[in-house]
Subunit: 251 residues, 2 copies
């Protein structure tokens, strides 16, 4: 049975995609098998791994025909890491009508097809509160919440945690917070102040590992590579390996 982890936060640009891609790649390095599902119509996780966006297959197919989930899978160049890519039509998979109880259970309906094939399934979410994150929260076992060490990102933390609580009571009673991850951490007074405040409030929910701001992490996607293929000696690579150890320990 695969462990399903959603990477979600409605605040934009906090490192959701960078974390989803590099956490998956780190897990694959430990000889476990991992599937990354790109539920963001922007498709950054897809191009970040050098995969072509798929208009009809990929995540669009997964949500519109959950029983054909395995047809949506594409192999990446990282051994042990597969992806369900995003594509231009993914935005059309959102129902024209309300986000009803039935619509948010599409991803969950694809679980029986996938759960025996992988050790981990990681779902990258867009920066919104609609159909795609709701599907992830209804289906996953836990949510990893990346947060920048900045003021606006802190404001959004209460919102995503309350959305997790309501998904837990409405659709998915097993849903837990996997952890809160400090990203783009810089050794400055301001970053420290925010980091201390988050750790003071949320204590053991916050990972020991903080991801430093590291230009290699921003450069790697332009080469279609996870950080380990782009620059395995970088501080970003070491930090994501440390994070994977913490995530795997909880498993």
């Amino acid at each position: 049975m695969a462990r399903y982890i959603a990477v979600a936060n409605q605040k934009g640009g906090v490192g959701k995609t960078t974390t989803a891609v590099n956490l998956c790649a780190s897990i694959a390095l430990t000889r476990r098998t991992c599937l990354l599902i790109d539920l963001d119509p922007q498709g950054n996780a897809t191009t970040g791994l050098g995969i072509e966006k798929k208009p009809h297959n990929g995540a669009y197919l997964l949500l519109s025909n959950p029983h054909r989930a395995t047809d949506a899978i594409v192999h990446t160049q990282c051994k042990g890491l597969d992806i369900v890519p995003s594509g231009p039509r993914l935005a059309d998979a959102q129902p024209k009508h309300a986000v009803t109880a039935d619509n948010v259970l599409r991803l969950k309906a694809s679980k029986p097809e996938l759960t025996t094939l992988y050790d981990y399934v990681i779902v990258d979410c867009p920066p919104s509160v609609g159909f795609f994150p709701a599907n992830a929260l209804s289906c996953c076992d836990s949510v990893l919440v990346p947060i920048q060490c900045e003021y606006y990102a802190m404001e959004g933390l209460a919102q995503i945690l309350s959305r997790i609580r309501s998904a837990k009571s409405n659709f998915n009673p097993h849903l837990e917070v996997e952890g809160i991850l400090l990203t783009m951490y810089e050794p400055s007074a301001f970053s420290n102040e925010v980091a201390e405040e988050v750790r003071a409030h949320f204590d053991d929910l916050v990972y020991e590992t903080a991801i430093p701001r590291n230009v290699a992490l921003a450069e790697a996607p332009s080469h279609g590579q996870a950080i380990f293929d782009y620059d395995h000696r970088s501080r970003g690579a070491r930090a994501y390996l440390e994070l994977a150890k913490e995530v795997l320990k909880d498993g």
Copy 2:
């Protein structure tokens, strides 16, 4: 007649709110009057100016009762700058049913009440493609598109530009691109590479002014202040003043 400018980009964390807040504050410094409309349920522009979020009034009222628009206005501590604040219920203003032609014209319906009161109206958008950005694109005269000098942000540029084109042909024939703004620019090889590529592709759409990465811009919102009140000598303050000169010149 006020000039309405939307600040929009579905890519998250590119500096939409930081630009909306500080552009408004710069315009107010030139003794013109300016209204900032916070259409993001996260409400970062509202707290960034030290204003309390409004559950029932503010942007929720503006979209549900456009003819009562003036009741939604709150003064800020910056002379000449008012705001229509966001709030926790703003997400509820989104219609339960489809984004129809009628729903996306709510903001536009409030225009007659506001357009004679201000020289400029700036609309901050959330990082999504749904109801709120669609209202902004259907109502505004032009769109200012902030973009980080990073790979993923570049990917999203084609998407927002194509959304502007389709808003122009479906709802708002006068809609133009106000400009593309390079944000969080650092004098590094990678930033330069992206900046050059954006300028090569989009030439005269790109502002001369690039906003440098400057910690004062990230600190100011935690004090509820625009950059001029927080640190008027900072590089961030100077850059937004330069940007305002370019925006006002086009007016």
